[in-house]
Amino acid sequence: MIRLLLAIVLGAAVPPVPAAELLDFSADETRRILRHGPWPPPWSPDPSNRVSGKPAAIELGERLFFETRLSHDGSISCATCHVPERAWQDGRATSAGREPVDRNTPSVLNVRLQRWFGWSGASDNLWAQSIRPLLDAREMDASAARIARLLRADRDLRAGYARAFGAPPGADDEAILVDAAKALAAFQETLVTGRTPFDDFRDALARDDRTAAARYPLAAQRGLRTFVGKGNCSVCHFGPSFTNGEFADIGIPFFIARGKVDPGRHAGIEQLKQSRFNLLGRYNDDAARRTATGTRHIVVQHRNFGEFKVPSLRNAARTAPYMHNGRLATLRDVVKHYSEIDLDRLHADGERILRPLNLNERETNDLLAFLESLTEAGTDPGTTSGAKRP
């Protein structure tokens, strides 16, 4: 009775909290929403990398990731552009290694879940992708010989290599370069984003827990409805990683400078085919080539020109600026781009998926609320990522 009286008194004194609400998602909408989970996905080692998942390789890879001596003049490391405190990217429109680079630095969070690596997918595996910036003259400008020398000469690195690979570095410089990249890959495989408010909502829907689902903000629910419905966003931003892992032309100009263009996926496929570090090459540790199917069957098509990888949306709120060239500064700019997309900028013979969404202010804010709900919980934006560190 006292409790009841207290409740009445308190109820009279405090404005009532609005009851949590759950939109009446249709069966089709629910099915589309459930496709974006569960999260995190189960771990499985990369068969092309014999040290994938091995603690000693992860330890060596972490050491190498922050090692400036890997670069030509000892000035930069992988972490110079993939900054842990910035969700493992650099916050710049385009990267700056030893020299300016034409593309935006992607986060390496959840990188192990990708099929193709880099904006143009020029690598089909994470260790090959880790070699690219090491050797690129604009980035770290190293060489196989330089990296091999370092791993042979530095006592700690030499011991770490021996623990990871079972023997100290040998005489083959390129083999040591590849092994260093495999250790770097083993470390990056551990960088996985945590659960998000969206994941809690999605799992509540999956178990038909309406009370828990209703804790998800209403604006985010409305934005999600646009994402899987009117916006058709989930066609490309598909699955638990919110990317189908492929490439698209979304009307972002690909001119780099006067008379110079970034061909995107078109060049990426050519580079992939020519790379001796691809999964069909001798450095793949999986004799059965189980993960090489895509490399065997990928073909260059005219429409690939100007296509860039569909990025994951997990932690998108922490990875500004956006697009392959960092052209869009904020998530609001991204939503505006799709809302007002200029179809004349797309290939005439390309896909017909995009159309202007013509979102009003509330729809825009709702979509932003949804996108922000893909941010992992428990860490402050702009600080540590919450990634699992070894």
């Binding site: 099915r31 496709r35 598909f238 699955g239 895509g294 990928i298 390309g350 896909e351 017909r352």
Partner: protein, 132 residues
Amino acid sequence: MKPALALGAAAGAAAHACEPELRGSDLTRVESARYVLAYRSAPARIAVGEHFALELAVCGKDGAPAPESLQVDAHMPAHRHGMNYAPVVRRTAANRWRAAGLLLHMPGRWELRFDVRAGGAADRLTRNYDLD
């Protein structure tokens, strides 16, 4: 006028179907005027963004020349694009093939296309596939 005559002739032949040499309860069957094609996928469930293969068998209806070759492709008509990958089709036995390297990279309606070539002509058999 010629197409109408050809269709009429084909319709007559269609009454005499044939059985592709592929057995099982997991088969999908597609027919044209001259051919019957049966296939199953491996893995059995096709998933967005996952490579799969098709095991296929074709037979010719009465009067149709024996199938000489088979091509397999997939398109999303509503999106006006095909796959990003070129499947390789290999003959495994008489009238049987295996297509490897297919990947459907978006959910939605795909049209699987099978081109059966024989006697200097090609028949296109199609099957809609709603990928979820």
